[in-house]
Subunit: 230 residues, 2 copies
Amino acid sequence: MFQANPTKQAAVTTTDKVFEQIQHAIVEGKIPSGSKISEPELAKRYQISRSTLREALNRLEKCHLIERKANIGSRVVDCTIEGLLELYITREALEGMACRQAALNISDDEINQMQAMLNTHGQTQELKDGVAYYQEEGDLDFHYKVILASHNKQLIDLICGQLYHLVRMYRCQFGMNSPRASRAFDEHSRILQAIAERDGELAEMLMRRHIAASRKNIENKIAQQKFTAV
Amino acid sequence: MFQANPTKQAAVTTTDKVFEQIQHAIVEGKIPSGSKISEPELAKRYQISRSTLREALNRLEKCHLIERKANIGSRVVDCTIEGLLELYITREALEGMACRQAALNISDDEINQMQAMLNTHGQTQELKDGVAYYQEEGDLDFHYKVILASHNKQLIDLICGQLYHLVRMYRCQFGMNSPRASRAFDEHSRILQAIAERDGELAEMLMRRHIAASRKNIENKIAQQKFTAV
DNA sequence: AGACGACACATTGTCGACAAATATTTTGTC
DNA sequence: GACAAAATATTTGTCGACAATGTGTCGTCT
């Protein structure tokens, strides 16, 4: 099954739990993007002391969900078009490399697992006619697996531990159920094929194109919106 | 002049100051890599309360200099060969992309600045005959400038705000004054040239080769050490 | 009327103490 | 003497209070 963050273990301390709650609230927009965070208010809301809340805020800052300024306070990061495009460019670099490393380091077991996962995706996708593949976490699921298969702790932590919270936030807030669904599935298949053939160079190139295509898709949408707005 | 972290503003709160002190201590190995961190002891050493220290520890965790486990404690990250190689692979991905973006987004002013900087490097480098270029922060300085020139906040924060503390740590602890000094200077020149010509693809490729060459240089050294050890 | 400064308020930063969890030592038994 | 379990000690997590900093308001002066 899909899990929000394959790198972290279960929440044990109260800070952990509050952190996860606030994290979801931010990702889903319940705490609106760009809004200022009041420590006393949040502490009261979650029935915890300010110290505990601040600890949680620190972790939120670590995944780039909030920004803090000394003696001034914290704000939820705001979702801008530029931010989204910058995020995709960063993903292209990191996931591309992760994909190359996956081709070098993946185990046979992992290959089989991913193949099975893609098969499942393929069936449900045929049924739902491609609408839901992106939206339901199937897409993220595949990307997660690739990243983990890189066996590179640095990459895994950077992407899964930090970037992907932002990715999910943008997806939620911008409501991105792209029409690229069925094409994305094909691209995933080819990427996995390259990985299975241990062709790192090709694997990286395909993953970069895959992400770049998403980015360009977004750019087009934006341009379109601008056009209809005028 | 070179500054430790071009993204952050001056330290204002006591947490900031203590954070910087401990950061330097870890980077320079005064607090040995892999050692456990005692909160009470460090708090006493720096004359601050534990809450303040924990705030500083949170930031250290953010730059991957320490690792924390719930209810167990913090350890300074330990410097391993694998960790170093993983770090270089991540740098290759991120700085390569930063270089490509720099070629697209750099301003003419920035180009001139970098050109001037390289000229300075070239002169001092001729004098010192290439020994010091890597060691003295000249190398990092160039890389910093490239990353900033990408004008991509995400990339800048990831590399300058997080990765580079680790890079400096490894450089300090493994004492890496590589014989690649004079070659590195040439490579920097060509990278800047590609950037100035707005050739993003070439710029990325050259930067990736530049970093990959460093990595392979390290790998060779390791292999050599193993050989002589046997 | 607009600008500057003093005051009051709210928010963030820092502190020391208590509670919970983990590590260590002691004790008892085989 | 070695192992297991209980008791102790240390460390981490959480709390509420105080200090320092920033913000807004009001009154006075030009």
